[in-house]
Symmetry: C2
Subunit: 424 residues, 2 copies
């Protein structure tokens, strides 16, 4: 007998048929003698619909009321999944974030979990019932409904798994697991069977979308074993857990085309200039990633960094103001870049990785414009048009290529799911 927490994303719950399939999976687990907790996201695109509704009456909806509204999406899912489980003859009890005892800070729209009072959840499991919990939400000590922000349902699942010492936290999604590279770009990408928390965190930070960084931090801190897998097959996915003794040198390659490169030109090479510029950007709550300062020439220097393209609208006025009076020659923004990252825990004891990466890229005519490294990651910024070439050639050079070619590359998400639903 195990305690299983299983989280299902919106795509896995988008239709009545899919919900019934989720219910069947929970009932199967239950009949195998396990204690089962499901954590559910809002159905399909319903959160987007609610957001649109809010904007139709208030362009800037107050944070508290937005949480009240968005929390209904998961409440619908959880009650419908509970009904579907009951239709299969097994007792189920749905619970909101508040009812399951997830106490959070009062930071609406991006609350953090401060405590989980899981007494009622334990009672329900002891009564041999399946618990269905609304992801993404909690409640303040005053009883106000909060939401956890982006990736919140994953965080709910991992936090609950930690609180009830679950044997495993399954994250069901619309992909098979974590891959050595994006299969849409690298057809020979392999599914990774097992990966360490550290590597998964670096992959998430480098732009891999499968698992959210925040939930992975939670998993690492509490030692929760996470199984990322497809809701549309019974195939095993990727296990995220403590690193084993022998780690692969390179676990995966992640590319990210969502950032732009900003270069501030001819800044006087004086103490405190960087602090001034990046302090202003941080104050505006804009994320920046790689920062490179070129060697000084004639007493001036260029400072380059990357930032999400989505944040450029907010970044521009901040930059305009920050460089005023600095004597800089203005700034350039290049949106056509890509970041390619090699990630692997084995890198620590294999110092040649970065050098090999640069030489592979050079051999393929890929120019590197920025470099940044951590203990288990090397990232480079290149021309966006060369993303595919760079990722594929690195994938091959570091021995990651699968013998199978990923055929679904050309299928849409819907076609892929239909195919998988047919028992593949």
């Amino acid at each position: 007998m195990s305690i299983i927490v299983a989280k299902f994303g919106g795509t896995s719950l988008a239709t009545a048929e899919r919900i019934k399939r989720v219910a069947q999976r929970l009932v199967d687990y239950h009949q195998q003698g396990n204690k089962v907790v499901a954590v559910v996201s809002a159905m399909g695109k319903s959160t987007d619909d609610l957001l649109r509704l809010a904007k139709s009456v208030n362009a800037q909806p107050p944070a508290r009321e937005l949480d009240m509204l968005l929390a209904t999406g998961e409440q619908v899912s959880m009650s419908i999944v509970a009904m579907a489980v009951e239709a299969l003859g097994v007792s189920a009890v749905s619970m909101t974030g508040g009812q399951v005892g997830i106490v959070t800070s009062a930071k609406h729209n991006r609350a953090t979990i401060s405590e989980i009072r899981a007494d009622r959840l334990f009672d329900i499991l002891d009564q041999d019932k399946i618990a269905i919990v609304a992801g993404f939400q909690g409640v303040t000590v005053e009883g106000d409904i909060t939401t956890l922000g982006r990736g919140g349902s994953d965080t709910t699942a991992v936090a609950l798994a930690a609180a009830i010492q679950a044997d495993i936290c399954e994250i069901y999604t619309d992909v098979d697991g974590v891959y050595t590279a994006d299969p849409r770009v690298v057809p020979r990408a392999r599914k990774i069977d097992e990966i360490s928390y550290e590597e998964m965190l670096e992959m998430a930070a480098s732009g891999a979308g499968v698992l959210q960084m925040r939930s992975m931090e939670f998993a690492r801190n509490y030692g929760v074993i996470v199984h990322c897998r497809s809701a549309f097959t019974n195939n095993p996915g990727t296990l995220v857990k403590e690193a084993t003794m022998e780690s692969a040198i390179i676990s995966g390659i992640v590319h990210d085309s969502s950032e732009a490169k900003i270069t501030i030109r001819s800044v006087p090479d004086q103490v405190g200039i960087a602090a001034k510029v990046f302090g202003a950007i941080a104050q505006a709550n804009i994320n920046i990633d790689m920062i490179v300062q070129n060697i000084s020439e004639h007493g001036t220097t260029d400072i380059s960094f990357t930032s999400p393209i989505n944040d450029l609208v907010r970044l521009r006025p901040v930059l305009d103001k920050a460089i005023e009076g600095l004597g800089a020659r203005g700034y350039l923004i290049d949106e056509s870049i890509a970041k390619v990252s090699l990630i692997g825990a084995g890198m620590k004891s294999n110092p040649g990785v970065a050098a090999k990466m640069f030489s592979v890229l050079a051999d393929n005519g890929v120019n590197i414009s920025m470099i940044s490294t951590s203990a288990i990651r090397v990232s480079v910024v290149i021309d966006g048009d060369q993303t595919e070439l760079a990722t594929r050639s690195l994938h091959t050079a570091f021995g990651l290529d699968s013998d199978d070619v990923f055929e679904e590359t050309q299928l849409s998400s819907e076609e892929l799911q239909a195919k998988m639903a047919k028992g593949r």
Copy 2:
């Protein structure tokens, strides 16, 4: 300064435009110096959508989970209305039934209010904020979400008004108020300015759909003054309150075509037969209304009663079983009947009302097949085809006709609202 509770039905909240109009009304009340509590139903037909979703995964959704699901409808409304109020620059706080302190029995889908803990509501009003409360829902002492069943939002509004000793409970709907008869049938129907709780209760029991019986019982028991009015105009509607000294003999005429007449033929005229039949029907939780037992002939009798047409599917097997072994000659069901009721508190001291009613109907060639009376009501069952003739002739004979002819008779509800929205 007054304390105002204002309840808005689904039609008044069906679109962003209408929600903004509701918000403006609340803000106007607030700016006039009143303390304002709004109670809201689910938007438009969203409750029906949720029910359909539930049925798509479970033909008989468990009651607890259905409440979890349906409660989201009002939660969406309340947060959207709060956002719309905030957009007008006034602070608003939305609250679920549980948050506003409505404690109910654990009878899911038709819970009854056992207590209202209004401390938080008082706090919010003292902070000069508008409170927006989800109608139709509450919470058990264990923290489970419940719903109050049909007409539940009206009940929430009246109960809250009682709990905070509001000066008035306004029920905004898509009609102008309570009429002396249904204006679609009687074009000379008049809007009633004021009516007693007792009369309103009899009207609701006789089939008038404007105000729910349950909320009116609550209003009478706690002396809550109710103002039933249109959400689409600023015209005064109908006040429901304690009877004044001088009551009109007849306040209104209500017709109801939603019932069928059932006649059990040639039942042996023995003690306990009626108890047996109606006991079985009551056990099946089927409503019955008028009961008439004809004079016994040759030791057998006919028993007739009325019951909602919607309940016939459930009634038939119960009747089949109940009359087994009674020696009855079977039963007849007539769905083409109508019930017409005269209601008026002044009737008590005017004994000739029933006689005049029967003679007016006779003069117009309307045959009466059943009669039932209370202290302030006379109801007759007639042929459904004669509903209009009967209602109009009684309306005229009892001096209820307005000088104005209700012109909107031919307009659809949408056209009517559009016309009213234009400032009529």
